[in-house]
């Protein structure tokens, strides 16, 4: 009865959780800039959650270092379904300038399915909002798919 409403709401109220996987802090600042009054991500329903249990979208910034790889994967596992994983900036997608460094543990897509890649070094707040908006639409699709498969993905 409420399924349609819940599916629509999934796209309208995406809560973010931000993981810094060894970032230079550039993308972290730009993500927060996207939430400030100038860009106002809250008009689309975005909100920064304090814990991965509350989040719908996990935003990963920074190259995945060998030290933090397991922690990132564990944090993503703590996020309840349906969830979206967004990489922000060039580092988690390709390794950027850290690619040949010894602590680099590979792109995030090697370990989990990434839904949206936001490009840029650092990504601009406009691009961040665009990418997060796309992730919110994917969230609605995932919720529909989850319902059709009886709560499983």
């Amino acid at each position: 009865m409420f399924d349609n409403l819940i599916n629509k709401s999934a796209a309208k109220s995406p809560w973010l959780f931000h993981i810094n996987a060894g970032s230079c802090n550039g993308c972290d600042i730009e993500l927060v800039a996207g939430l400030t009054p100038r860009y106002d991500a809250e008009r689309l329903g975005f909100r920064l959650a304090g814990t991965p249990r509350h989040a719908d979208i996990v935003v990963v910034t920074g190259p995945i270092t060998a030290q933090i790889k397991d922690r990132v994967l564990r944090t993503i596992e703590q996020d309840p379904e349906p969830r979206c994983i967004v990489t922000m900036g060039s580092c988690p997608a390709s390794g950027n300038v850290f690619k040949d460094g010894y602590p680099y543990a590979g792109p995030l897509s090697k370990y989990v399915d990434v839904d949206v890649d936001i490009a840029g070094c650092a990504a601009k707040p406009e691009t961040v909002l665009e990418g997060l908006y796309q992730a919110a639409q994917i969230l609605e699709q995932k919720r529909k798919a989850m319902k059709n498969k009886g709560g499983q993905i």
């Binding site: 409420f2 709401s9 109220s13 809250e42 249990r53 509350h54 719908d56 309840p80 349906p82």
Partner: protein
């Protein structure tokens, strides 16, 4: 003995449905006004409703360490307590269950149950962050209880004439006869104290030490996800309505129009005004206080304001 109207009161107005719709709408308007104060567009007014529906559709993860029945039952207990308070609040001439002697004391106890449900739910989740959160929540409950009781005593004395009355109906009748309580000059300090008690009771921003999401990951709610978290969020919205409604019933009463529906609309508008002054305005202009600052502020400044009114009321002013 059983009256079918009671079922309507409990389920529709002023019970569960009114609390749900009124609370989400109140929180949506609060967030919209808050956004306008920061010169941005802000979320749609139905945003809290979307948040609630989305959380209902999410997966519910129960941690291995948690005590399952307590973990899932705590938010529901809080919601039921809040709806019960709403049933006891008189709206001008109308009150759902008529004249209950000493219902003010019931309200004092029921107001701690939502906080207690957060404490119990957090303790059942078995997370260390929740442990820090519940100790902070306890401190904030102790902080606002003393001024709240003093405000209620002052009003009870004022409305009671010779003795002290603990009946909300008697207070509503007093205001219908003598005009709103806030117009009595000796009650203005108590009204200010109550305005400051409201945000701490709700757990609104400058006083949200228990759920500080930037410090301790939303404290007691850290392990909650899906539907139980949705009910906790709903509790927050309904708490805004109920506590501002308590202020409206205590200080902004009056004759009313005599029509229940019109009175309910006026009551809701009063709740909006109280929410604006006590929550939105303070939230937009202040940063979060530390635990000991909250405690000190409530036991000195706010309790002092309430004491002034209490003494004035006791001398019959």
């Amino acid at each position: 003995m059983f009256n079918w109207m009671w079922l309507f009161y409990i389920l529709v107005f002023p019970g569960a449905l009114f609390c749900f719709v009124g609370g989400t709408l109140l929180n949506g308007l609060d967030r919209k006004v808050y956004a306008k104060m920061q010169q941005r567009i802000g979320p749609p007014i139905l945003q809290p409703f979307y948040d609630f529906m989305k959380l209902m559709g999410k997966e519910t993860i129960i941690p291995y360490e948690a005590n399952k029945p307590v973990f899932l039952g705590a938010p529901v207990v809080g919601f039921v307590a809040l709806v019960t308070i709403m049933l006891l609040l008189p709206q001008f001439g109308f009150s759902a269950f008529g004249d209950i002697n000493a219902d003010m004391i019931v309200i004092i106890y029921l107001l701690t149950i939502p906080a207690a449900s957060i404490i119990i739910g957090g303790a059942a989740s078995g997370s260390p962050y929740a442990g820090v959160g519940i100790s902070r929540e306890m401190v904030s409950v102790i902080s606002f209880e003393l001024p709240l009781v003093m405000v209620l005593l002052a009003i009870g004395r004022k409305a009671g004439g010779d003795g002290v009355t603990f009946s909300m109906k008697a207070i509503a009748d007093y205001q219908a006869a003598n005009g709103a309580m806030i117009c009595q000059w000796s009650m203005i300090p108590a009204a200010l104290a109550m305005l400051l008690v409201v945000p701490c009771e709700v757990g609104c921003h400058p006083f949200d030490v228990a759920e500080a999401e930037t410090e301790i990951c939303e404290g007691p709610l850290v392990e909650y996800s899906g539907a139980p978290l949705g009910v906790f969020k709903l509790n927050y919205y309904v708490k805004q309505l109920v506590v501002s409604g308590l202020f409206a019933a205590l200080f902004l009463g009056g004759k009313g129009t005599g029509i229940v529906a019109a009175d309910a609309v006026i009551f809701y508008v009063e709740c909006l005004v109280v929410t604006f002054f006590s929550m939105t305005l303070i939230r937009a202009s202040l940063a979060r206080l530390k635990v000991e600052q909250v405690f000190k502020f409530y036991w000195t400044v706010v309790a002092g304001l309430a004491l002034v009114s209490l003494v004035l009321a006791w001398f019959g002013l």
